[in-house]
Symmetry: C2
C-alpha cells in the first residue's frame, strides 16, 4: 500500500494573495466608480526589451531549419549563456567564476526548492521571518526542523547570526523580498565567517541584485571573502529582465564548496542531470542578450523605471515620517503601518482605493508592517502616494 509524504499535510495553505485579490475584486464590484490602484503587484509589468525578444524569435524560427535546430542540450545549460553570465559577474561584482560553476535553469524558484535534494533531512534549517515563502515550504515538505531568525526594526529586517544559533543551512535573501532590505558587506562577511566557522551552508537568493545601485553594497555573496567555501547563490532573470513568464534563472555552486570531501558542485550536476533536462534553447538565446552590455543597459532602463516608483514611495514615507525599509536598492517598500496589517489593508482599500500586501502574510514578524511594490506605472504610483498623504496626514 503506497504511503504518501505526509509532510505535505502539515503545510500551511497560503491564502495571502488569493485573499487580497478577492477583497479587491469585491470592492471593485461594489464600487465601480472608484478604480483601485494595485500596489501589491509582485510581477513585472514592462515588456521584454526588443533585443531579447528578437533573439527568442530568431532562435524559435531557426528551430524549423536543419541549421538552426537544437535537440537535447546539456542539463547545466549552454556554454554561450554560462560564458555571458561569467562575464557579467566579473563586470558588475568583480567576481571570477568558472563556467562549470554556473548552472542554467528555468528559474530561481525551482533551483532554490530543488537544492534541498542535496541535503539530509537531518539538518536544522534557518529561515528569516518575514521572507519569501518557498524556503519554508520546500523544507517543510521534507519534514525538516526549522528555526526562524527574526527580522525587526532593531536589525532593519536583516537578521544576523548570534552566539548559540544552532543551524546547518541558512537562507538569506538580499535585496530582500518582502522587505527590500539589503545586507551590507560587513553583515555578509559576518554571516560568511559564521557559516565557515560552524560548518553551515548559506543559500543566498540574489534575485533582486540588479536593483542595487549603491556600489558599496554587495550584488553577489561571492564578493565576500570566504563565501566560496560556504555559499550557493541563486539568481533569476525574472526581475532583472522581465522573465517572469519567459523563465530563466541560474545557480552558482563554487567548486570550493566541499563537505566531507564531497563537491556540492558535482552533487548539483548529478541532481540536474538526473532530474532536469535543460532549459529551452530558444529561451537561453534570449537570456544571452540580457547579459550583453547593450542588452543589460536596456534592461536597466526598465529597472530604473521601477526604482523611480520606489523612490516616489520612499519620499512619501519620509515626508509622512513613516518608518520603512527598501525603496532604494529594491522594488519594494516595507512600511510600519502601526496597526494590524490586514486592518491597514482594508483601510487603504476602502478609504483611498490603494491595494498593497499585509506584512503578516510573509511571516509572524511581518505583523504591523505592509508591502508596497514598484511595478505599477509612474502615474499610478504618484496618484497612490497623493492619496496616501491625504489619508495619513489627517
Amino acid at each position: 500500500m503506497v504511503k504518501l509524504n505526509d509532510n505535505f499535510f502539515k503545510l500551511n495553505e497560503s491564502y495571502l494573495f488569493s485573499t487580497t485579490a478577492r477583497k479587491i475584486r469585491e470592492y471593485a464590484a461594489a464600487n465601480p466608480d472608484k478604480p483601485v490602484i494595485k500596489m501589491g503587484i509582485g510581477d513585472v509589468t514592462r515588456p521584454l526589451i526588443p533585443q531579447v525578444a528578437a533573439a527568442i524569435a530568431k532562435a524559435g524560427e531557426g528551430m524549423a531549419t536543419k541549421e538552426g535546430f537544437h535537440g537535447y542540450g546539456d542539463e547545466q545549460g549552454e556554454a554561450f549563456l554560462q560564458e555571458a553570465i561569467k562575464k557579467y559577474y566579473l563586470r558588475i561584482a568583480g567576481v571570477t567564476l568558472k563556467r562549470n560553476e554556473i548552472f542554467i535553469s528555468d528559474g530561481a524558484k525551482s533551483d532554490v526548492a530543488n537544492f534541498t535534494d542535496l541535503f539530509s533531512n537531518d539538518n536544522i534549517i534557518v529561515i528569516p521571518d518575514p521572507v519569501y515563502p518557498v524556503y519554508l515550504d520546500s523544507n517543510m515538505m521534507l519534514g525538516r526542523k526549522i528555526v526562524f531568525i527574526e527580522g525587526n526594526e532593531a536589525n532593519g529586517f536583516l537578521p544576523m547570526p548570534y552566539e548559540g544559533l544552532k543551524g546547518d543551512i541558512v537562507y538569506l535573501c538580499s535585496p530582500n523580498n518582502p522587505t527590500g532590505a539589503v545586507y551590507n558587506r560587513d553583515q555578509l562577511k559576518t554571516w560568511v565567517d559564521f557559516a565557515n566557522a560552524n560548518g553551515m551552508i548559506i543559500l543566498f537568493d540574489a534575485a533582486y541584485e540588479a536593483f542595487i545601485s549603491d556600489s558599496s553594497l554587495p550584488r553577489s555573496i561571492f564578493e565576500i571573502e570566504g563565501a566560496r567555501t560556504c555559499a550557493v547563490e541563486f539568481c533569476s532573470l525574472s526581475k532583472t529582465a522581465g522573465f517572469t513568464g519567459t523563465r530563466c534563472g541560474y545557480t552558482v555552486v563554487p567548486e570550493d564548496l566541499v563537505i566531507d570531501g564531497h563537491s556540492l558542485n558535482k552533487m548539483w550536476l548529478r541532481r540536474q542531470t538526473t532530474k532536469y533536462n535543460g532549459t529551452s534553447y530558444v529561451i537561453q538565446k534570449g537570456a544571452e542578450e540580457v547579459f550583453s552590455e547593450s542588452g543589460m543597459a536596456e534592461c536597466m532602463k526598465n529597472i530604473e523605471y521601477y526604482k523611480e516608483n520606489a523612490g516616489i514611495m520612499a519620499k512619501t514615507m519620509d515626508e509622512l515620517g513613516i518608518w520603512y525599509t527598501g525603496g532604494i536598492n529594491s522594488p519594494y517598500i516595507w512600511l510600519r503601518c502601526g496597526m494590524d496589517s490586514w486592518e491597514f489593508f482594508d483601510m487603504l482599500l476602502n478609504e483611498i482605493q490603494v491595494a498593497g500586501t499585509p506584512g503578516s502574510g510573509f511571516g509572524k514578524c511581518g505583523e504591523g508592517y505592509f508591502r508596497l511594490t514598484a511595478f505599477n506605472t509612474h502615474e499610478n504610483t504618484l496618484e497612490a502616494m497623493q492619496r496616501f498623504k491625504k489619508l495619513l496626514a489627517k
Copy 2:
C-alpha cells in the same frame, strides 16, 4: 554541521553514453577514411515543424510589446494548452480528462523525477529491467527500497505483476525505452487491476505514445478501466514533436486518484506551486500548435519518417532471423546480439562502422541485447542495414 544526502554517493555513475561516444571518437580518429553510421542516437534529428516554430517566434516577438507581454503564468500551465491536450486525448485515445488534471511542465524527465516528492521514502519501488535510468536514480537519491521486475524474451520485455510481488509504486514505460516493446490492453488491464487490488500506484511513462500506429494498442493508460484510481501518466513533446531542446511535457493526475482521503492531484498542484514557476509562455504557445489537428498531422510526418527507419531495421532483423522487440510502434529496435553486448558494440564499430548502444547499459537484463534507434536518415539507416546483413549473414 551540514549533513549531505549520502544516498547520492550510492548512485552508480553511468558511463554508457560517454563510453560509446569515446569509442566512436577513437575509432573515427584512427580510421578517418571509414565514416561511422550512428545508430545509437537518442535524440530526434528532424527540425520543429514550421507551424510550431512560427508560433514560438510570434510569441517571442510579442513579449516586447505591451499587448503581447506575459508575466507569471499558472504553475500548472496555461489554460489554452491544457485545453489543446484535453482535446488531443479525446481524439487519439477516446479519453476524457478535466483541464485541471493536466499539468504542463518543461518535460517528462523533470516530472517523473519530481513526482517522487509526493511519496514517503518508506515505499517499495518496482522498476522494470532494462529501462530508462531516471526511475531508478531518482528513487535511489531518496534511499528508497527498489525491487526489479525482469524483462526477458519469455515476456517480450514486458514484465507483468505476479502473485507475491511486493511493491507500492511501479514505473511502466510503454512504448518502452530501450526495448520498443508495447503493453497491450489486456496486459495494462492486468497491471491496473493488480494496482487497484494492492493499493499500488502506477507511474506510466507514455513519452513514445505518438509512435503507436496499431490501433489495438493503448496510447494512454487512461484507456484502461480502473486506471483513474491508480495511475499517473507522464508525457512529453520531445519525441512527439521534436521538443528535446525546446522543452515541454505534461503530466496527467486524475482527480479520482485519492489515497487515504488525499488527492494526488492536489498534492502535485501543491508541489508544483511551491517548487516550480511554470513553463515558458513562449514555449507553451509553440506546444499549443503541436496539438492542433494540422500541427499534429505535420508532426506525424516526422514520426512516420523515423518509423520507416524502424521498419527498415525490423525487416533486416526478420531477414536475418534475429529475435527483436520494437521496430513497429516505436523508434527503437532491441535485438538479441548473442554475445556480450559490449563485444557486439565493438564488433559492429570495428567491422562495419555502425554504432549502437549495448543493452547492458540499461540494466542487468539488457546483457546480450543491443539497441538501435530510428533517428538517423533513411540513407544511413539503409546503408547500416546493408552492412549489418553482410556481416551477420556470413
